[in-house]
């Protein structure tokens, strides 16, 4: 066997993108704002629903714990309890589902300086294992269909909010979501 050079692409861009048993989703985006500002906004988990549209609300229940209420089809909701596992000031925030949670998932968001004062490269990676049972199937349906698109959308909304202070909408007026 010939020795191959190590591929520099991140795991999430490789053809085999599984992380052990977990499915891996990840995206990066460059945001023209300082690292500390982006970190501070994300660190306050109650801000996440402003750009993660699948999440209805996040309640911080303790120093490291929070409960996420996720919208599901048919007006249903799924809740997920997470704990912070690794927080490095202005660099990264990691979280994972607590053991009693119905859904097993873990995620990390990293903030690095972009070259030549282009702002900050934000990379989010989420690994998840949809368990058996109804909730698991629902979760899989929610996030598995096109999880990469969902991750891309959420990071783009985060970028819009941080760069411009608002999230673009083509809606014509409030009674119309632009899908006329």
């Amino acid at each position: 066997m010939t020795q191959h050079a190590q591929d520099d692409a991140p795991k999430r861009a490789q053809r085999d993108d599984k992380d052990g048993d977990l499915a891996l989703v990840g995206k990066s985006v460059t945001i023209n704002r300082p690292r500390s500002e982006l970190f501070a906004f994300w660190r306050d988990f109650t801000n996440l629903p402003t750009f993660m549209h699948a999440i209805e609300r996040i309640e911080v229940t303790g120093d490291r714990r929070s409960v996420w209420t996720i919208k599901a089809p048919g007006g249903q909701h799924v809740t997920l309890e997470t704990e912070l596992v690794d927080v490095v000031e202005n660099q990264s925030i990691g979280w994972r589902s607590v053991e009693t949670s119905q859904i097993k998932t873990e995620g990390v968001v990293r903030f690095e300086d972009a070259p030549a004062e282009r702002g900050t490269i934000v990379t989010a990676e989420i690994a998840y294992e949809p368990p058996g049972g109804d909730v698991g199937r629902l979760f899989a349906k929610l996030f598995r269909a096109e999880p990469n698109i969902q991750a891309r959308h959420e990071l783009k909304r985060f970028k819009m909010l941080m760069e411009t202070g608002e999230i673009a909408t083509g809606a014509n007026n409030r009674s119309n979501d632009g899908e006329h």
Partner: protein
Amino acid sequence: MRALTWHGNNDVRVDTHPDPEILNPRDAILKVTSTAICGSDLHLYDGVIPGMKSGDILGHEFMGEVVEVGPKSTLKKGQRVVVPFTISCGQCFHCQKLQFSACDNGNPVEKQDASEMLYGHAMGGAFGYSHLTGGYAGGQAEYVRVPFSDVGPIVIPHGMSDDEVLFLSDILPTGWMAAENAQIEPGDTVAVWGAGPVGLFAVQSAVLMGAEQVICIDHHPHRLELAQKFGAKVINFEETHVREALMEMTGGIGPDAVIDAVGMEAHGFVVDNVLDVIKQKIAPGADRGHALRQALLACRKGGRVSVPGVYGGMLDKWPLGAMMEKGLQIKTGQTHVQKYTHDLLRRIQEGEIDTTFLISHRLSLEDAPTGYKNFHDKQNEWTKVVLKPGGV
């Protein structure tokens, strides 16, 4: 409010729509006083741009009076403004580089997927130009919502008429950028395909930028006369062999720069175009590119190719060999309108650029469908239609 809406191929109507509202902090609402039909609206009219939905309000060339502002808008009620067709945030990487039409944040996230798949990267946002660019309601209406109103709109000084400044919204900066992209040098011959509004402004701009000779190619005699008014020589492609003429008019060198101000619906009864027309009728997203192919073959060795003409999809029989072997440089793109509006407003004020010559017809908003039909069918006489929602 009343608004001109798209319902299908060659089917536009004036319908009643809910009035727009402020949705984001930087929004403003305008009462539209003048709005033009653009040549690129005819691509929508002909159904060759994908991503249209029945009921979409068209119009990306408009101006009006500010009637409502969001808390972060810098505009004031009562101001008269012209609005760039590109919806640009002013703060992302591209806007900071003055590449406003490439703005990352103007096109709503969920609308970006289609162009990201088609082009590899998402397009920016634009008014009234399909859901690929955001599904934003356009300005051929009584009222329009303007996002990022602190960045795009340019306030018009008292004493200047709508007709003088309206084209700052698109076609004047587009013609100007087309000439800029031709990187004109002393002694240059610049050949412009298409004596439509953009081609005519490209002619005017190329003359101002110091071209030795500007040659405009079209088949509508009246439009060619307008080009002559600005000092261009003209070629009617129905009567003349274009490439041969261009060689003979440049001492056997060929034009130093070529500008394709025609785009995806080129005319001409030649084999490549006939095949393109058939393909376009079968599949939206296929482009017709006879003018561009001819321009690439006509351009001198080491010359420059500027493409303001709109293309949306794939083009085959592309003379890639001519491009490579002759060492052509190509510059193209949707116009970075906000980059040019202030300079061009000054040039209009100082009488350096004439804009009103182009307007052949002024109609009420209710007559907009007639305007579309005639601008489409009678191109020789109907050179530019301006709609006046408040009455002519």
